[in-house]
Amino acid sequence: MDGALVVVQLLNGIQLGVLLFLVAAGLTLVFGIMDFVNLAHGALYMIGAFICASLTLALDSFLIAIALALPATFIVGYLIERVFICHLYHRDHLDQVLATFGLILVFDTLVHMLWGPAGISYPLPNWMNGQVNLFGFVDFPLYRLLIIFSGITVAIGLYFVIVRTKTGMLIRAGASNRTMISALGVNINQLFRYVFATGAMLAGFAGMIIAPITEASIGMGSDVLLIAFVVIIIGGIGSIRGALIASLIVGLIDTMGRSFLDDLMKLVVSNQAAETSAPALSAMLVYILMAAILFFRPQGLFPPKTR
């Protein structure tokens, strides 16, 4: 285990973390403010990736494609809220889960019909494909570094909006006590519609920037959704700060587990047992953490201040 490898794996973990944050941010706000369980959030991650893939291949420019795909996913998110979600707020969680699970199936099939089952792979601009030398002793893929930067930029931007602006104050108030804020004359439904669409856009953005690495594929949203729920449970439902910190924790645990767990396990069990059980165990680590959090601190690490 050498220093350069540890640094690279730390960066890989942070990169995974900021990606999870982009998905979890919208999810935690929607869950926190409107008490609405949105399983279809992952579908927007997938839609973002597919829209961006088509635009990249059509326009031959990844950056322009992202610039156009962002408002497109915002609109898709807005329409979903307008057409489906707004009817479900008064229902209980089971109805919401069933309805949004249905939406997942609808979107998966829709993508299958529009883009085919194969998934789309799209190229990055050449200048993004290289390596950069960091601190003089590690090489790291430039594109992954850009993901970290854009994720952190979004996090700072969100923090600013939520902590320093009036809209942000209303969102925080909504997360704390929805009835009170609507009694004070704020149109919480209108506010929520934009929060939902923004969350959709952020999830879409995550999909757009990961797809050049893993490619846009059907079901990519469901994979990330599960782990995003783990993130918001660890971080505290409704808390952006919690989502950020929990995302980084989960990203680091997952990456570090995959990197070093098998070597550690080889010290105590046979090589073959370590090789086959380490990946399973490292996939479990974040769920073990979640279980521990639920047991010792069920409200999450950084719950929004309520009541």
């Binding site: 350069a4 089952p117 792979s121 490619e215 059907i218």
Partner: protein
């Protein structure tokens, strides 16, 4: 009176039905038609449809009824679908199966019901060895064989140290065991990654480990959509300068068109071992590849080739017994001869009913029309038999 006649007719029907030979051959084909892996299943289905067209949906005098089922990439669903095929559809043959874990879960349902089970892809070591069965046949290979050939290639190329990456499931372990069996150098590292419906597609941590291990060569097995994702990340990680990539079942007619669309030229020139390639020179293969390209616009994958062969293998069995589907022994004896035009050329069966066949080295190249495909550059093994056959009690 009328009632009586009806009853008599019904009784007659019941008694006489088994005496007549069936008027159609029913084949159940289990593959993956949903999730990202549907791209493989569709390729197999296309090949079966093409084969049905080429035989005019007839085997001897019998009509052929093909029933496709989707396993959803899950062993438990595959088993349910196999149960449905043997119990409610009462098929004569169960074929297909991309995934080793799905085949392992489903085999008992088909074999206990006394049906023939034909794997058009998966070749887990258990079924070649201890779990071998007289009614099981493979038109593909045993999982270990292709990577064993790759180990041989690595030796010939003078590779001294190797890093292995594969998914953590039955076939992934077989692939890794296969290359380890024949490779003479040292294995400096090995990663088995999460697989299934929520498979790991981001290999950043593993690629960083490969880089820091200083391995000369990297051996991977990533079938389906993971293959494209892996190749991209391999290229982005800058590993290609220090570590040469050797693959099995990863660079194929499924991943190459996508890699071409994504302009990932790093994959061209990469080496893989395989029992078949679109450019293999025999009449059946030429007909298969050209009509497949004409009908679907792409090169067939090896999954398609095996599925196409499956239909012709079954046809040879049905015709050998003149359509008497109750003659299991006759059909088994016919299939054991492998007496049909295979797209890989002639081959024979071992006692565990896995093919004894050649393995070639394929290189990813650009064809005359500018499409990316694979070309045979060398023959690694001639008439190679898997190693588990000695454990088969048949």
């Amino acid at each position: 009176m009328f009632k009586k006649a009806l009853l008599a007719a019904a009784v007659c029907g019941l008694i006489s039905a088994p005496a007549f030979a069936a008027d159609s051959v029913k084949i159940g084909f289990v593959t993956t038609l949903t999730t990202g892996a549907a791209v493989i299943g569709n390729d197999m289905k296309n090949a079966v449809d093409l084969a049905m067209e080429h035989i005019g949906s007839k085997m001897g005098d019998l009509d052929v009824e093909m029933i496709f089922e989707d396993d959803g990439f899950k062993p438990e669903i595959g088993k349910q679908k196999t149960d449905k095929l043997v119990k409610s559809d009462d098929v004569d043959f169960v074929a297909g199966f991309i995934w080793s874990h799905v085949l392992l879960a489903s085999r008992k349902s088909a074999l206990d019901a006394g049906k023939f089970l034909i794997s058009s892809n998966a070749g887990p070591s258990q079924i070649a060895g201890k779990l071998c069965h007289e009614n099981f046949f493979s038109t593909s290979w045993q999982n270990d064989q292709t990577p064993m050939a790759m180990g041989e290639v690595l030796n010939r190329n003078g590779v001294k140290n190797l890093y292995i990456m594969a998914p953590n499931y039955a076939a992934g372990k077989n692939m890794s065991a296969g290359v380890e069996r024949t490779f003479n150098g040292t294995i400096v590292g090995k990663d088995l990654t999460k697989w299934g419906k929520d498979a790991q597609l981001d290999f950043s941590a593993e690629l960083a480990k490969v880089k820091s291990s200083g391995a000369e060569a990297l051996f991977v097995f990533y079938p389906g959509k993971a293959g494209g994702a892996f190749i991209k990340q391999y290229q982005q990680s800058g590993l290609s300068e220090s570590t040469k990539l050797y693959t099995v079942f990863t660079v194929d007619a499924i991943s190459l068109p996508k890699l071409q669309a994504g302009k990932l030229e790093g994959v061209l020139g990469s080496l893989a071992t395989q029992f078949w390639s679109p450019d293999l020179d025999n009449a059946q293969n030429k007909k298969f590849v050209s009509s497949f390209k004409e009908k679907y616009g792409t090169y067939p994958s090896f999954y398609a080739a095996q599925s196409y062969d499956t239909v012709f293998l079954i046809k040879s069995a049905v015709e050998a017994v003149n359509g008497d589907l109750s003659n299991m022994n006759g059909m088994r004896a016919a299939m054991e001869k492998a007496d049909y035009p295979s797209v890989r050329g002639p081959y024979s069966y071992g006692k565990n009913h896995f093919p004894i066949q050649n393995f070639y080295l394929r290189e990813a190249v650009v064809d005359a029309d500018g499409n990316w495909t694979t070309k045979i550059v060398d023959t690694i093994y001639e008439n190679h038999q898997d190693t588990y056959v000695s454990e088969c009690p048949l």
